[in-house]
């Protein structure tokens, strides 16, 4: 028994699995973040657990980073291969006649999401790593909520986040359902998968926007 990534189909399957893995992570991330809207204590409790649990920090986090890197690198590699497969372009190509803009431009939405991740890492992940492993500051289980709220003070940054979430929704609207097709799901499930995809992609993106805007407004009201 062997699974090789050598064939185009297995690479497609690997993209689907890594995409679904990132969707699971995204869901978990959203569930924790939405608690910040309802309860400072619960958000701090979850964040403290995620930031200090050995399994999360040293097993799940590296696996996640590998998953993210794999999905992006493979995505760009496949895009390069696909572009190379047609050396002379059509003078007239009516893609809109047979497919959605979203499905044809996954690389665009993916690149925007990647840019957002860079900003997000700069905003949250790098300061967190610096706090814990470079400056080695004493752990304060109640610092997370304040840090989160502080990050959403800037309307420009919140706008950038919301634009990124729009592109995340576009990426998910094709990617989620497409993953199941790549994994060989039978067509009788397509309508259910399509419905779940729409609800999830729009719901989670609006949800993240809501969290960012909620704290932006909270900052204005407080000050």
């Amino acid at each position: 028994m062997s699974i090789k990534l050598g064939s185009s189909i297995m690479r497609k399957v690997a993209m689907a699995i890594s995409g679904l893995f990132l969707i699971i992570f995204l869901t978990q991330h959203f569930v924790i973040n939405i608690t910040s809207v309802f309860s400072e204590e619960i958000f701090n409790m979850f964040s403290h657990f995620m930031g200090n649990n050995f399994l999360v920090q040293f097993i799940a986090q590296p696996v996640l980073i590998v998953g993210v890197l794999f999905h992006f690198i493979m995505g760009f590699y496949l895009e390069w291969q696909n572009r190379s497969a047609r050396s002379v372009q059509y003078v007239v190509y009516k893609g809109s006649a047979n497919s959605s803009w979203i499905s044809r431009n996954m690389i665009v939405s993916g690149a925007v999401v990647l840019s957002f991740l860079v900003l997000h890492f700069y905003d949250f992940w790098i300061p967190e790593m610096k706090y814990k492993y470079v400056d080695i500051l004493p752990e304060d289980p109640n610092r997370y909520y304040e840090e989160l709220v502080h990050k959403f003070k800037d309307p420009i940054k919140v706008s950038l986040y919301c634009i990124s979430f729009l592109f995340l929704a576009l990426h998910l609207l094709h990617g989620f359902a497409s993953s199941f097709k790549s994994l060989g799901t039978a067509s009788k499930y397509y309508s259910t998968i399509s419905l779940i995809t729409k609800v999830y992609a729009i719901g989670i993106s609006l949800g993240f926007c809501f969290i960012a805007i909620f704290h932006l407004i909270g900052n204005f009201v407080t000050h």
Partner: protein
């Protein structure tokens, strides 16, 4: 009808092509697209101009020879038809029509609108068949019970004429719809089961070696396919390949 035709002209596989404008009058709406091309070629020959080379054979939508990319779509704006079945009534008087060859690195232009689609033949040769001893003891296929639903799906897949519209349409120049139709038509039938593992592995390997792009499930291929081959076949081929690789 009076039309302006912008047609890709290319002397041979090595030369650089370009779009050339031709005016054509007296086009009947009842003409097929290829008949309109015939009229144009007659006019060009009278003028001493090299006629436009294009593939055609049966002219009734079953051979898969004709292969034009018309106004940005494989086989033109009509659905479930090949170029030979496309009629001029789909266009309006005064229209400018862009006519290009099916484009993919794996379908190099031979001349004008004629492309080399032998990559499909090589994929078929790598596994698109069943091995049967035909020395007189072949079992009658009708005597083998087959579930109706599977027989229907297999026949649907077998309607693929290998025209290459899927490759031409796909933004990635992927041949997955063609290959999956050929894999499916056997995978769904008992006669195809024996060689199923090797078939899917070999056909996908050949498809990749030819240099076709990857499928990203845009669904464009099934919309433009003149035979309505469904994307379900691609999902089935994905399953078949994963199963085959687990067995190997």
């Amino acid at each position: 009808m009076k039309l302006k035709l912008k047609i890709w002209r290319q002397e041979n596989s090595k030369s650089k092509g370009k779009m050339v404008l031709y005016d054509i009058d007296n086009v009947s709406p009842d003409m097929s697209f290829l008949e309109m091309m015939d009229v144009l070629n007659e006019e060009l020959m009278i003028k001493g101009i090299d006629p436009v080379a294009f593939d055609h054979d049966c002219r009734e939508g079953i051979c898969g020879s004709c292969s034009m990319f018309i106004n940005g779509e494989a086989h033109g704006p009509d659905r479930y038809v090949t170029t030979c079945q496309l009629h001029m009534r789909k266009f309006k008087d005064g229209d400018t029509i862009y006519i290009e060859p099916f484009r993919a690195k794996t379908f190099p232009v031979i001349k004008d609108l004629v492309v080399d689609r032998t990559a499909f033949d090589r994929i078929q040769h790598s596994g698109g068949f069943i091995s049967v001893n035909t020395s007189g003891n072949t079992q009658d296929a009708n005597s083998i019970p087959i579930e109706k639903a599977n027989a229907d799906k297999a026949f649907d897949a077998a309607t693929c004429i290998g025209c290459g519209a899927c490759v031409a349409t796909c933004k990635n120049s992927s041949a997955m719809l063609f290959v999956s139709a050929k894999v499916s038509q056997f995978a769904l039938l008992p006669q195809g089961e024996v060689e199923a593992t090797d078939r899917v592995i070999n056909m996908v390997k050949q498809m990749d070696e030819e240099g076709f792009g990857n499928c990203t499930n845009t669904g464009a291929c099934q919309v433009e396919c003149p035979k309505g081959i469904s994307l379900d076949n691609i999902a089935r081929m994905n399953r078949e390949l994963v199963k085959a690789q687990l067995k190997k």
